[in-house]
Amino acid sequence: MVILFVSEPPLIIYCGRIIDGEWIKLSYLGELNQSLHKAGENMLQNYSNERILDSSSRYITAIVIYKLDFDKLVWLKVESAKDRAFFLPFNFDNQSYNGFSCPASTEIEGNCVYFTLADGHKKLYSYNIEEGKLSISSPFPNLPTRKSSPIWVMPEAKHRINMEEQGSGKVQEKVNDLEDVEVANETKAHLPCLPLDMLKLIAKRLILVDYLHFRATCKMFHSVAPQIQWRIATPRLENPSLSPWLVLFGKESVYSFIDPNHGDKYLINLPQVLKEGSIIRGSKDGWLLVTVRMSTFFFNPFTQALLPLADRRAYIRNPCMGFSSTPDSSECVAVEIGDKTNNNSNFFVNLCSLGKEDWDLWEFEYTNFSFDCNSPVFYKGAFYYLGKEGNLGILKLNDEEHSFEVLTKPKPPCNDNFQKFLVECNGELLSIFVAPFEKGVRVFKLNESIMTWVRVENLGNYMLYVSHKSSMSAIAKSPGMENKIYFPRFYGESIVFYSLETDNYHSFKSKDVVDFYSTTEVLCCGWIEPRWC
């Protein structure tokens, strides 16, 4: 079977059997790039790859892989592909053609998408599908810089299809070490068990998940430890840090949370309505702005409170969304901004508050401002955006007419090769410019009287947490956490941060400077401040 797509963005595909020589027309919605996969007489899965990447953007914000189910003719999202690896070439426009997938082998690691970007093609990006993590390596340092784009070529002439391969890649069962537990139980004498009130005293001191484990031990413990709302530890025990956690939304039915201080990972089951592909768009005070296709919600994952907003009707490409304050307040406004079409003629601002029946769509004339994909900062009553060139744009919501003002001052302190983030810290507006790869981070503060960015060398007792979906500041609660910028980047299992004191990347696991190329970046994530009440 051969798959052929006709136009760009591909809306119609044809598939044909080599034997019959007849083309059957299929159709599907959405913008997808396809990788052609030639198969023999046995029909095989066909993978397609969607990367959300602005044509002039220099970094990836999400990678989604779909598999075409030929029987039902639907695209199914691929969460893990242990038996395959994908290779995509991107040309100067960051468009991709003629990628391919191949079976994983000893030389090629499965479950990965490999590609290079139009930033010289010297860095190899590998994206782990199952974990949602992107890592960069530099295996071709002596590659000459050319204007043309590279293509991937597989040396073997044929792709061999194995009938057995179709069944592989399924979930592997965990081996239960039942034997070990039993041996331990036999050798150890059974202790006199404690009376119930003693157990209650112990249970009282357990927090978070330890309490749940205690409950699950046996029926007696279960009766002693009733279901409670989350307990915050007394000061003498190790405090669970309420500093921001990283929330990952790559998987469909759960969110994972990671505490950067201790490296603890928590999972939470989502309410039914969010289970089918939710995307986090912004976060503030423990609340998340979440979209499921066109539906929008405010969700507090700690209290499981879910507040629906009206469905959005206008489709905006690559939106950047945010909201002004906690949904508890009556003045909370959710905002969505972006282009509707490929041509940068006008841009749109979509606004909504809780209780309103519909979103308000406003059209603004094209100004010299390109939106980066970051969530805006609500500062002094207006939404502040940091554009691709590093200039500021302010969206003011007035009673009669909203305005969008592009500021000529302050001038961007760094060129546009940097990743940029905007954050509010201690009543002031800070901008964070991240140099590509390992080259460092610079922080600036907005001096509003003269409207320039002033370099910040030391954050004092503050810490910054940056990501595209949400960036926030917090006061350090335990020593050793202050004066650092935390990124959604991992070195092994621990979070990578940039220390303003040493001007380098570190992680809590090792004392040394972290090698940037052995870190991985998580794509679908944001920072959230845990709030249990």
């Binding site: 150890k188 404690l194 330890d210 046996c218």
Partner: protein, 126 residues
Amino acid sequence: MKFCTVKQYFDDENNNNVTNGIATTVIPLPNKHLKIKANNKEMEQYEQELLRNVMPQELTKLILAANYLNFKEALDFFCRTVANAIQNKSVDYVRKFFGLESDFEPGEEEKLCKEFAWSFEGVDED
């Protein structure tokens, strides 16, 4: 007077609740407490020292002893130590620690797991 029960203990010879070994550990505590009353840190260090030689499982005995002797501070301390010992460990570890077996029906335990709005990854190795 912190030790009403101690007097009773010595009077009551036929006592199964507190074995000798445990008594030697628990009884010196209040004296030390009085001496280092305000200084919490020193007390903590002393407590750590004391418990270094005690097996975690023996803690249950210590708790019973402290309870019998009506010694609130020691009881508090031992319970806290047990809580710390099972912190960040799996359910199986907790069972082993207390010498228990799960008496849940297979379906019940699964339901309990689902009941958890939260579950924990990255548990310490047992």
